[in-house]
Symmetry: C2
Subunit: 184 residues, 2 copies
Amino acid sequence: MANASTLEMALLGLIGQKPQSGYDLRKTFATTAMRHYSDSPGSIYPALRRLESRGLIAQVNANGGADSRKRQEFALTGAGKGSLVAWLERELTRDDVMLRLGELLLRFAFMDGNVPRSTTIRFLDQFIRELGVYAGERRAQFEQSSARMPLHTGLLAFEMGIKGMETQLAWAQEARTRLAEKLP
Amino acid sequence: MANASTLEMALLGLIGQKPQSGYDLRKTFATTAMRHYSDSPGSIYPALRRLESRGLIAQVNANGGADSRKRQEFALTGAGKGSLVAWLERELTRDDVMLRLGELLLRFAFMDGNVPRSTTIRFLDQFIRELGVYAGERRAQFEQSSARMPLHTGLLAFEMGIKGMETQLAWAQEARTRLAEKLP
DNA sequence: GTGCACATGTAATGTGTTACATGATTAT
DNA sequence: ATAATCATGTAACACATTACATGTGCAC
């Protein structure tokens, strides 16, 4: 596992937007669309310590002397910013599309402000291509299956998965158009 | 964690469809729409041992005597079937819809053959109600945000999440209609 | 008789979850 | 002063992943 976990990347991305404390991050996870990350201290504080020990984030508050239970704000270091950008710029693989759609969406969400617009467009192009192939294969497989056997909940669930991919595909195409319009 | 993991439930559901070996299950995870479960032996064999030790599955092959590296098939026990059905029948909560959509889809997929059609319909009704409320709230929040600030990738990703929910909502409504038609 | 698919397992590691614990600050 | 909220942390546990290890049976 040379790569950091997606929780760590979510933390890097958020801290990159503005320096924050562990408590701030927990609040974000508890109250926004990033709800599916746990807001429990047992996940976030250890993750912050790991990022700190790897030199990707550093404390920035003018924390007098006695630091016992005071607010500790973190900001990205140069290395942290580099690590974030490297993650955002990673080549997108078929496996990413098949297994890690959520992570791809997180990457996309953090692109503004961290990578040039052209990188975002290229990401969407790759995304559209890979997801198009995969969704097409699944759709064909579903048509075959549903012709051969009566409709049951297993098949319906399979269809739901495919419809989800098709929605994401349509969204990506529209997003690409919208972003390309204001490229300059 | 009173509940078994979702991997364990996936295994119970598959074994409930027909007795299978660990290797069969790995193949299923490696080649079907259930790809996002790891097909690594390090996850599946220990999970099978756990289910066996809890008495939810049992070996069924006429395994002569020397059992060294032979194929070992498992089937659901009575307790296993009971555990599977209890999971399928669990009341659906708001949190399930917000955080565990994948698990809900898995539950739905396994309903045929394990619970009566009326239970499946009730599940969809609850799903539609809870997801409708949640997706509506998110949509309103998105409209507010996108009116207040310029469109950026974070907002676009947020919108994608909402569109996914709306797709699932529409699918659930159609599935409910289709299943209710052939209730008798 | 060598290679490949079948088939099952263990050990090391990382990390997320839950539950518990505690100090600091602010409002009443 | 006392309750609520802010804020950080630890310990026990379960689990997934990766890499490694090993045996079986068949085809060529």
